[in-house]
Amino acid sequence: MKIKIIEREVIDPLGETSADKIELADMPDTIEKIALIDNTKPNADVILNTVSENLEKLDILNVKKPAGAAATTREIKEASKADISILAVGDCGSCTTWLILDAIKLEKEGVPTISIYSHKFSQFARSIAKAHGAENLRIVKIEHPISGQEKEDIKSKTQIIIPKIKKMLKIN
């Protein structure tokens, strides 16, 4: 007699994902006004001010949003008045998550975005963007850490990423 012992199978506990692909808004050939979205994390303002100083001749619209929560409809609407938005900074889990989600919200509104993350959180940022069908979201890495650092150090770190931002903005 042939006896076969069969082990019962186990079922996969992982949740399925499905996200519709989000088409990123095209970067315009000419930019007149840029919204700088400060999520109020320490030194986000220093990063954005340094970016601003390097973008002469452009109108700047300053917008603030909470770090660990969604930008309000009013804040998104305000930022949408500019041609493009630059968001900073994702240097922790919750602020990175919401910076990506807010950037995606703006892209859906037709506003091209560039968002800035510390290099320790940029991979996570990309994975969230991917989970939302926006794998190619414009993400710029700045050297971690950001919080608790001297202003001059943050300015120096920001200078390193200015050429990349300018390239994304098609500015020479």
Binding site: V10, G15, T17, G68
Partner: protein
């Protein structure tokens, strides 16, 4: 079960019959008693080896590090009996992966956590509660902060499931308290992708992330329990979820009046370095029954207690302003202090525990997360009197 008569016999095809299928279908013909697709005279199905499956799942980052119960089909099916929804119904999508929390996936993770099937409605509703916008799960799951999800069960179902609200209820030792919280955590890991270092970025994490679930000692409390305070009848069962730090003990054996005791609690709660000290929000006060009876004995109602704690729990702004973001001026009072809570209602007060003169406090996640209380109901919104109401109520 497949119709064997019309099925082409293929010796290379594995037989997929399960004993459950045979029982369910009530096979009449003798020849079907042994599947004719089988090359064997006798087949025995056994459960997978717990140690082996636990390690396999662990290597795939699908556990919290502890051994799991292997989620076999028969175990998962038993959990479906305690949900009136279909297995593929989506209860929520869980960040940061935005995985779909279907009834099936919640049941699988509950099996793994060691839940018994009757816990299913509580886990299911907890997942629904944490997915409400005001709870802010995208931040809670991904943050560097060691925030955990505290789940408080009120009403008759809490007692029916013997959720511990007395001695040692914050652990260890009770299957409901230990596994309901664990099931929620496994859902976050496996459905939501909140894997430490990948989707969950807590700098250190927290022991409270393994499980943090308890009931309220409603019969020991001199005041209305949490769910009644939030507008539900005492006979309605509810799930409350709250994002909090690990609790800190308040040992006060010597105070003989309400004010002295509350001052000890206030002193423990007035600390810089919590989220609330720069972005004020809710704070959980888990008050032991002996403490509650002392306070109530002095004529204090629940509102009085919440107001007192709110008014007196604060830190100087220069200490508070060292957190994750700069304090907004609206949180600074005329004396230059930051209150840990925004308003008396932010003091979430429950009476919990056994004999002894202890209270525990746990600061919340701050301004950006609020606790959520939902009633345990059938799909059509009818509150349930008993967990057994879910059985045979498929819609």
């Amino acid at each position: 079960m497949p119709n064997k008569k019309n099925k082409k016999i293929d010796s290379e095809k594995a037989c997929e019959c399960l004993i459950e299928d045979l029982i369910e279908e009530n096979i009449e013909k003798n020849e079907d008693r042994l599947c004719e697709l089988s090359e064997n005279d006798f087949e025995v199905y056994i459960d997978p080896d717990v140690e082996k499956i636990s390690y396999e799942f662990y290597m795939k980052k699908m556990t919290d590090g502890l051994p799991i119960i292997p989620p076999t089909k028969d175990r998962v099916l038993k959990f479906f009996e305690y949900s009136d929804r279909k297995p593929d119904d989506v209860i929520a999508t869980i960040p940061p992966r935005w995985g779909k929390a279907t009834i099936e996936k919640i049941a699988i993770n509950s099996v793994m956590a060691g839940c018994i099937p009757a816990f299913m409605p509580v886990v299911q509703d907890s997942i629904q509660a944490i997915s409400q916008d005001k709870f802010n799960l995208p931040a809670i799951n991904a943050t560097t902060h060691p925030v955990s999800i505290c789940t408080i069960i009120n009403g008759p179902i809490s007692r029916e499931l013997v959720i511990n609200n007395s001695t040692g209820c914050l652990g260890p030792g009770n299957i409901a308290n230990a596994t309901i919280g664990r099931a929620i955590r496994l859902c976050l890991i496996n459905i939501g992708g909140a894997i430490p270092g990948i989707g969950d970025h807590a700098t250190m994490g927290s022991p409270s992330k393994y499980s943090f679930c308890f009931g309220e000692a409603e019969y020991e409390s001199p005041w209305d329990p949490l769910h009644v305070e939030r507008g539900f009848s005492k006979d309605t069962s509810t799930v409350t979820v709250m994002a909090v730090d690990s609790p800190h003990n308040v040992n006060d054996h010597r105070s003989t009046c309400a004010e002295d005791l509350l001052d000890t609690i206030v002193h423990t709660a007035s600390v810089a370095g919590c989220n609330n000290s720069h972005v004020p929000g809710e704070m959980l006060v888990i008050m032991g029954p002996e403490h509650a009876q002392l306070v109530a004995g002095d004529g204090w109602n629940k509102t009085d207690v919440k107001e007192y704690i709110h008014e007196n729990t604060f830190v100087p702004v220069e200490m508070g302003d060292r957190g994750g973001r700069k304090i907004e001026s609206k949180w600074i009072d005329s004396d230059g202090n930051v209150h840990i809570t925004r308003k008396p209602e932010d003091v979430v007060l429950v009476v919990v525990g056994g004999p002894g003169r202890h209270t525990m406090i746990a600061h919340g996640f701050g301004t950006s997360s609020d606790s959520v209380t939902i009633p345990i109901t059938l799909k059509d919104g009818t509150p349930v009197d008993s967990i057994r109401d879910f059985k045979n109520k498929k819609l």
